[in-house]
């Protein structure tokens, strides 16, 4: 269990297993030994006594450190650290954030440093942090759990215990001492992914409720004794994190258009095992449509719902003509290098286009003479570059989706990017293109075709969209009086 690491040790958890790193303290700061880090992460460390520098190398990528400087040059890029490397006899001590700010940038696999828990999670392990609070409320005990990032859980009762099992690889949890005489005798972990509330003889029944947001799941377990006077509802078996109650219809997000990439004669990328991008995108699009409709109650349209060719222009036009509030194009990536893997989210780069196109797109409006004298200011949009008005919102959407993907599936080294993508440029609403993974990577190809993995992606997209809806509502509310991006610009020709 990752809980309560023995004092002065940090635990590194990877799929292959775990190891510990010793923690040294200097001037009340906690530091890690560079040689131990090097051994744990296969780093080569070279000390240049002449230049008084330290070079840390991992697969041709280097970090250069200078004693006395709280800076590191990571692959040529300067990043700041919370402190400088400190010499300790023949060893070197590094601040914790050397891992998150420097090492993670050159490392192949995602490194998630959790200083408070003294934990480094390597790779795509699901290690939710779980906060536990216990309180006594009259004759009843209440245990509140905060699970972040949220994972599915199941709550069951066995004799003498209530068990909370999490869909995770490991729990990042510190169990508090919580005793309510006769009712709760303690809270502990029974295995790597299960939490147990030990019950006393006064226990009669329990009930649960769930809430939270896209990032955090909040579960409250109320443990009732035989003295509980209030009429207790039926004990809720609470099978699985029940879907959130349908939110009140949002005015900011009513229609979502999903674009399954490629189709028909355009196969898109092809994996070694023969999986086709066009099939993966359509499968995920159908799942996503079902999930969005049932969980958010929004209208969802697909740009194609069959294996058919669909011109890129028409895909954005479907979104425009249906006044979609969000446009999501789904793709699977390919690289000549089989090892390349991970999901990426793109939004449009207007900067990528030459000067003329950009100027036209950015020209704000035109003042036209009207009949009977006077002038009228109208918005003329180059429809072909409609997306240029939504870059900021699209960037927010891309970031939110990436953050949700990151907790569920591998993401690439550059998970959020901008590019002048043809399918996005004409979309007159926030729009992103999601590369769900690399079919050129045999491992990822296999996952991308599995229902379980597709569902993980779908849930990440749903949560990303939920967060974006909140963002959009706040944004539209704050710009209500001022001129936000117009939804249906006057004078815009239909494509």
């Amino acid at each position: 269990m990752a809980q309560q690491p023995a004092a002065r040790q940090l635990i590194v958890i990877a799929r292959e297993g775990r190891r510990t790193l010793n923690i040294a303290t200097r001037d009340q700061r906690e530091l890690l030994y560079l040689d131990e880090l090097a051994e744990a992460f296969q780093l080569a460390v070279r000390e240049d006594t002449l230049a008084r520098g330290l070079t840390v190398t991992y697969k041709n990528r280097t970090i250069i450190l200078t004693p006395d400087q709280a800076l590191a040059s990571v692959s040529g890029r300067l990043v700041s650290l919370s402190g400088a490397p400190i010499r300790d006899g023949r060893r070197w001590l590094m601040p914790f954030d050397f891992v998150s700010r420097a090492l993670s940038l050159i490392y192949d696999i995602k490194l998630d440093l959790r200083p408070a828990s003294r934990l480094i999670v390597v790779g795509d392990l699901r290690v939710p942090a779980i906060g536990i609070r216990g309180e006594q409320a009259g004759p009843m005990a209440r245990v509140s759990l905060e699970i972040s990032p949220r994972v599915s859980q199941s709550i069951t009762q066995v004799p003498g215990q209530i068990l909370v099992h999490f869909e995770a690889d490991l729990l990042d949890v510190a169990t508090p001492t919580f005793v309510v005489p006769g009712l709760v005798t303690g809270i502990r972990t029974t295995d790597q992914t299960t939490l147990a509330i030990d019950l006393g003889p006064r226990f009669r029944q329990y009930r649960t409720s769930m809430g939270g947001d896209a990032a955090t799941l909040k579960t409250t377990i109320e443990i009732l004794s035989d003295e509980t006077t209030e009429p207790a509802g039926p004990a809720t078996p609470a099978p699985e994190a029940a879907p959130e109650p349908l939110a009140t219809p949002s005015t900011a997000l009513r229609t979502v258009v999903i674009d399954p990439g490629h189709g028909g004669s355009e196969d898109g990328a092809r994996g070694q095992a023969g999986s086709l991008e066009k099939e993966i995108t359509l499968n995920v699009a159908r799942r996503l449509k079902a999930a969005l409709e049932s969980q958010l109650g929004v209208r969802v349209l697909l740009t194609r719902d069959a294996d058919q060719m669909m011109p890129l222009d028409q895909r954005a036009a479907i979104a425009n003509n249906n006044k979609a509030d969000v446009f999501i194009s789904l793709h699977a990536n390919s690289s000549q290098q089989r090892s390349v893997r991970g999901a990426e989210v793109f939004y449009l780069s207007v900067e990528g286009y030459g000067d003329e196109a950009r100027r036209t797109a950015e020209s704000a409006g035109h003042v036209l003479p009207t009949f009977g004298g006077g002038t009228r200011d109208i918005q003329v949009i180059l429809w072909e570059m409609a997306q240029s008005r939504y870059i900021e919102e699209s960037a927010a959407l891309a970031t939110m989706i990436e953050e949700e993907l990151r907790t569920r599936v591998d993401v690439s080294q550059r998970p959020v990017q901008q590019a002048p993508f043809r399918v996005l440029v004409g979309a007159n609403m926030p729009a992103v293109l999601v590369e769900m993974g690399f079919v050129s990577n045999p491992d990822e190809e296999q996952r991308l075709t599995s229902a379980a993995h597709q569902n993980l992606i779908v849930q990440a997209l749903v949560n990303g969209i939920v967060r974006f809806r909140t963002y959009l509502e706040a944004r539209r509310a704050s710009t209500a009086g001022s001129a936000g991006p117009p939804r249906t610009p006057t004078g815009a020709p239909r494509p």
């Binding site: 280097t62 898109g268 092809r270 000549q336 793109f346 286009y353 030459g354 003329e356 440029v425 050129s440």
Partner: protein, 196 residues
């Protein structure tokens, strides 16, 4: 009196004729002749003497296929920037990738022609293989497109943006992602940052 004014009128008309001929016929003819000499005829080499070269930067995908790396190569020196553009692109399409790097352009892709406008926009016309033999995937496609864009903009300061044509025609994309309907500027984020 009458005779004198008639002669004067004739002279004026004559002078006007000469001036307008120079203005509207001779100058445009001379100008367009100059223009034509700078238009590109692929494959011609005017330098007959000893082969002189310049150092040009060609682009290949890094081993992890995430970035483009610039590699200095000797490319034959040309008389005009336009011919130079052609030589650089020929080298980019023809030369195999150095060790540890990967070529981003489908093999057998050839250069049909190059044009450069006064605004510094280059039009690079490639043979159909660049699209037909493309392996697909947005990462591959981004690397292919920006190899061409960077090969010109990094070596020829006069060229600011590049549009790729396929088989003489404007195209939407090579493989369904990157918008090729307009000239594209170089994408700096794509360049490998590690200089070591």
């Amino acid at each position: 009196m009458n005779r004198r004014s008639a002669v004067l009128t004739m002279l004026v008309i004559g002078a006007a004729f000469v001036v307008s001929w120079v203005l509207f016929v001779a100058v445009p003819r001379w100008y367009s002749a100059r223009q034509q000499t700078s238009a590109l005829v692929p494959g011609t080499t005017s330098a007959a003497g000893p082969r002189r070269t310049i150092k040009a930067t060609l682009f290949y995908a890094t081993a992890d296929s995430q970035h483009l790396a610039g590699i200095a190569r000797d490319v034959e020196l040309a008389d005009t920037p336009l011919e130079q553009a052609q030589r650089i692109l020929d080298a980019q399409l023809r030369d195999p990738a150095p060790k540890d790097l990967v070529s981003t352009i489908p093999s057998r892709t050839s250069l049909r022609s190059v044009y450069v406008t006064e605004r510094g926009e280059a039009y690079v016309d490639l043979s159909p293989e660049v699209s037909a033999a493309h392996p697909g995937g947005s990462l591959n496609e981004i690397l292919t497109v920006y190899t061409i864009v960077h090969a010109l903009t990094a070596n020829l300061p006069a060229i600011k943006a590049v549009q790729i044509l396929v088989d003489g025609r404007e195209v939407d994309t090579l493989a369904g992602h990157v918008d090729l309907r307009r000239p594209l500027l170089p994408l700096r984020e794509l360049m490998e940052k590690d200089e070591s």
